[in-house]
């Protein structure tokens, strides 16, 4: 039984914009309820995330960083895949979250869960403020504005080295054990459990959000900005809302990285990080919620393996993989796979 509260909440948002009768709401509600049902592929995916504990326990630290990056990619998918906002500067919010959690710990308050909440809040505020600029632009101007804002933030962080530790990074971060009992160990058990649990919880929230009238409105904005006001949807308001939420989630991912690795340096805000997560998301397939997760896993595992085999030229092979994916799997890995699946279904 699906709790109606999530759908009701977003219905309220829609109702505030334009009055609709209960009868008119019935068909969309059924559609959304059908979408929100768990498919067996999803259950298999989440069970598979538990495999590293048993199959590859020496890879748990990598797994935890994949989970963190997957969360970051998920937050980008919310604005890119579902709302059409291409951002080359999403790492700004990741970095704000990371520095918030890092600074809290450095100043003596290393409790991880409350650190996450405060980091999400800080990143959300930054996201909200920048959303006023972001929501007004499209196309290339939007992309370059997101890039410019992030680069600006990174330079400011470099100058404010009294606060951020500058290019040497923040020193003296020490994360307290979770719930007072689970220490962060060398093998990465706690780190992976923590990151994975958070990824799952936030994913559930994002999933509920997407399969709601609000989510449909976002997709409408992505497809056709001109039409949306005609049916009474408030574009800028919605964009600001989703951008703030995405920023907050990116902040959580950043805070997770700061807490599990006990390091924060300027490159958490950097162009490289924004570009990498964009590549991972496109690789996995945008607008499918799981695209970011799959893309992050594939990219980071490929990079880890290639760089082990060929520390100097691993990126050559990654380049080839990117080219191959675009050639063979249009729409990213998930897009390509779903196309193959539907073609297989069509064959008699």
């Amino acid at each position: 039984m699906i709790p109606k509260s999530g759908i009701r909440f977003s219905e309220e948002i829609m109702r505030q914009q334009s009055p609709m009768t209960d009868q008119a709401l019935a068909a969309p509600r059924d559609y959304l309820q059908a979408q929100i049902r768990w498919q067996w592929g999803e259950i298999v995916f989440w069970l598979a995330t538990l495999l590293p504990f048993v199959l590859t326990p020496s890879y748990l630290v990598l797994a935890s960083q994949i989970a963190i990056t997957a969360l970051f990619a998920l937050s980008l998918d919310l604005i890119l895949g579902f709302c059409g906002i291409v951002s080359l500067g999403h790492a700004a919010y990741f970095g704000v979250g990371a520095y918030t959690a890092g600074l809290l710990s450095k100043w003596g308050f290393g409790e991880p869960l409350s650190g996450l909440v405060l980091a999400a809040l800080a990143a959300g505020i930054f996201g909200y403020l920048s959303s006023f600029i972001i929501a007004r632009f499209r196309h290339l101007a939007l992309i370059m504005l997101t890039l410019g804002l992030a680069l600006l933030l990174q330079e400011i962080a470099n100058s404010a080295s009294w606060l951020t530790g500058g290019s040497d990074g923040l020193q003296g971060i020490h994360t307290w054990p979770i719930f007072g009992r689970f220490r962060f160990d060398l093998y990465g058990y706690t780190a992976y459990t923590y990151s994975l649990a958070l990824l799952f919880v936030v994913f559930l929230v994002a999933r509920r959000l997407i399969h709601s009238p609000f989510g449909l409105a976002l997709r409408g904005i992505r497809e056709n900005t001109t039409r949306m006001p005609a049916i009474g949807a408030a574009i800028r308001g919605h964009i600001r809302t989703i951008y703030t939420i995405a920023a907050a989630i990116a902040g959580i991912a950043g805070a997770l990285l700061a807490q599990t690795t006990e390091t924060v340096s300027l490159e958490v805000l950097g162009f490289q990080r924004s570009a990498d997560v964009l590549v991972m998301l496109i690789l996995g397939g945008t607008g499918r919620l799981y695209g970011g997760l799959i893309g992050a896993a594939v990219y980071m595992i490929a990079r880890d393996q290639f760089s082990g085999l060929n520390p100097q030229f691993w990126y050559f092979w990654i380049g080839l993989i990117l080219i191959a994916v675009v050639m063979l799997l249009p729409g990213g890995i998930l897009g390509g796979l779903s196309r193959l699946a539907s073609r297989a279904k069509d064959k008699p």
């Binding site: 196309h139 992309i143 504005l145 890039l147 330079e155 050559f316 380049g319 990117l322 080219i323 675009v326």
Partner: protein, 286 residues
């Protein structure tokens, strides 16, 4: 003359270099909407061609410049024909991914063949040193760069405004569907324009070596500056790229001279302000 003019002169030269590197991308992006993030890989190719011809084969510097242009143009033609043209219908994001893959491959190839250290370049004697005029020093090489860039700008504008080819390019940038409808072979047009644009990037790369150095990371480092120029100038506009490159080059240098404390962020602030004022670019239209 107050010393700031010497500094502004240097900024002008730097702006011209950015123009050469960016103009090709602006036109191809405006015409075909093909997001070619590998644009600076062609610039890098031009740079390596010049360095190889000079250091390994002893060619004089000036002779290597046309070869850099042709090599980059030819490489881009091959890549476009064999590869890129299949992706014109693909989404922007996929074109991004594809061309980023090409950049990775190109950087790896450069690192493998040439190594990761800086490529040394010794300019001929007549391009080294500086002239003194009105009490200020003006570097010979920067004068040369400005002269070359101005000649190319004039040639480009003349070409675009006064030739049939230029008219076809303008038509295709303005309204591709209409242009096709009128019987203009847009695909051939694009292939030629793409080659020209990449060739110019190659020339820019060759000229850049003596000013800002060359190593395999060139393809990524200058991509950001090029994107800034292209977005601020407006897609599909030569005049736009020129104006944007000038504004950015001069304001960057002037900022660093007068207020070095914000020197690093001035170029981003200028870009943000200009984009917010003119989201389509200074001379862009859609």
């Amino acid at each position: 003359m107050p010393p700031v003019f010497g500094v502004l002169f240097d900024g002008l030269a730097y702006g011209m270099l950015l123009f050469l590197l960016s103009v090709g991308l602006s036109v191809t992006l405006g015409m075909m909407n093909f997001v070619n993030l590998a644009h600076c890989s062609f610039a890098m190719l031009g740079g390596y061609v010049t360095v190889t011809l000079m250091n390994a084969l002893g060619w004089p510097f000036l002779a290597t410049l046309p070869v850099a242009f042709v090599a980059a143009a030819a490489a881009s033609m091959v890549l476009e024909r064999v590869f890129f043209r299949r992706f014109y219908r693909a989404s922007d994001l996929e074109q991004c991914l594809l061309t980023i893959g090409v950049v990775f491959v190109s950087i790896a190839a450069a690192a493998y063949i040439y190594g990761t250290d800086q490529q040394p370049l010794q300019l001929p004697a007549y391009l080294r040193g500086s002239f003194v005029f009105a009490g200020l020093n003006f570097a010979a090489y920067r004068l040369f760069l400005i002269a070359v860039a101005l000649c190319i700008t004039i040639a480009l504008i003349a070409g675009i405004e006064a030739t049939r080819f230029g008219a076809q390019v303008r038509a295709a940038v303005n309204n591709q569907r209409m242009a096709r409808g009128l019987g203009i072979n847009v695909d051939v047009l694009f292939a030629i324009t793409f080659a020209l644009g990449s060739g110019l990037a190659g020339l820019g790369g060759a000229l850049a070596v003596a000013m800002v150095g060359l190593d395999p990371s060139f393809a990524f480092t200058y991509l950001i500056y090029v994107l800034i120029v292209v977005s601020v100038g407006g897609l599909g506009s030569i005049a736009g790229s020129f104006a944007a490159a000038m504004v950015l080059g001069l304001s960057d240098i002037a900022g660093k001279y007068y207020v070095p404390a914000i020197g690093s962020v001035l170029i981003y602030l200028v870009m943000i302000v200009l984009l917010m004022w003119r989201p389509l670019g200074l001379f862009g239209r859609r």
